[in-house]
Assembly symmetry: C2
Homo-oligomer: 158 residues x 2
DNA sequence: TTATCTGCAAACAATTTGCACCCAC
DNA sequence: GTGGGTGCAAATTGTTTGCAGATAA
């Protein structure tokens, strides 16, 4: 996270968000800019409702339907992804499309990004050695369930 | 899979299903027995609808509501699990609660079980060496997306 | 200018709930 | 016998759709 702590739309600023939308071939409307910004800023991979709750603070007239339509078009263009989750009723989204893994906190329902290139390599090498019989893999992602703990607490091996 | 190919309820027979339900502390009703059997037999991790479609063949008066209630109680008791999925609108369930991974076929939407103790060990060792800072892991599961292919086709490394 | 997006409201789909009756323990 | 389960229908929740007016390119 970069500095600045005051108002909305500070660090991933409008110009950056605009170009991100443009690169994905999407029209950079006010609504989409704020929606994308919320996806980047909200922790734990938000639902449409959670995005809406944040976005109305800035753009009070925005409708939930617009959130759904924007999220659909973001996913269709590859700008964001739907997150695989076993819990909950609502769809959740991830603005980070680079390869990474997820930590599922059973207490808070948060889904936390976990990136570890060494682990990726380890798994890739494993599959290169003994791969699959009737399946062509394209990508993989590790889902680790557990609980968030204080920095102070001891963490036991799995 | 064991032999026999005639009618429903052959290999995981009623007695076994009964005791599985009993062990989970659930009443072994006719409906629950057939629902649990369908979960074990249907490929690719079914939705409530898919379970219902199979179960009505055997028990025509069973209602979709009963399927939902049964699935809820199965999950609550730990008999089955909800499956993490990024695609689709409906919840999907897994009757196998032992540690295993999933192959997500982007063509058929099937979710195929993948079990590999060597891989599990490799990942466990990796986390034992350099684990997490603020997260206590309890379990992990690898999600591999790709496509099913014929046995004949060549499979390329990821 | 014009194709696309937005906001609203209605429609839809998936899941849950309430309740009278039934059945496994 | 009785507490929990079933079936039905109605209610709720999450998401999609249709369309008239607004707006980015």
């Amino acid at each position: 996270m970069s500095p600045s702590s005051d108002q909305f739309l500070s660090q991933p600023d409008r110009a950056q968000l605009r170009s991100r939308l443009a690169q994905a071939g999407l029209r950079a409307t006010q609504q989409r800019i704020v929606i994308l910004e919320s996806l980047l800023v909200l922790p734990g991979h938000p639902t449409a409702e959670q995005v809406h709750r944040r976005v109305v603070l800035e753009t009070p007239t925005i409708s939930l339907g617009t959130i759904y339509k924007a999220l659909d078009s973001f996913v269709a263009s590859g700008l964001i992804k739907r997150v695989a989750a076993a819990e909950g009723a609502s769809r959740r989204y991830d603005a980070d499309c680079s390869a990474h893994h997820h930590l599922y906190c059973t207490d808070t329902q948060e889904i936390i990004d976990y990136c570890n290139p060494q682990l990726d390599l380890l798994i890739q090498e494993f599959f290169a050695a003994r791969g699959f019989q009737n399946f062509q893999p394209r990508a993989f992602s590790l889902h680790i369930t557990g609980e968030k703990v204080d920095a102070a607490q001891e963490i036991k091996p799995l």
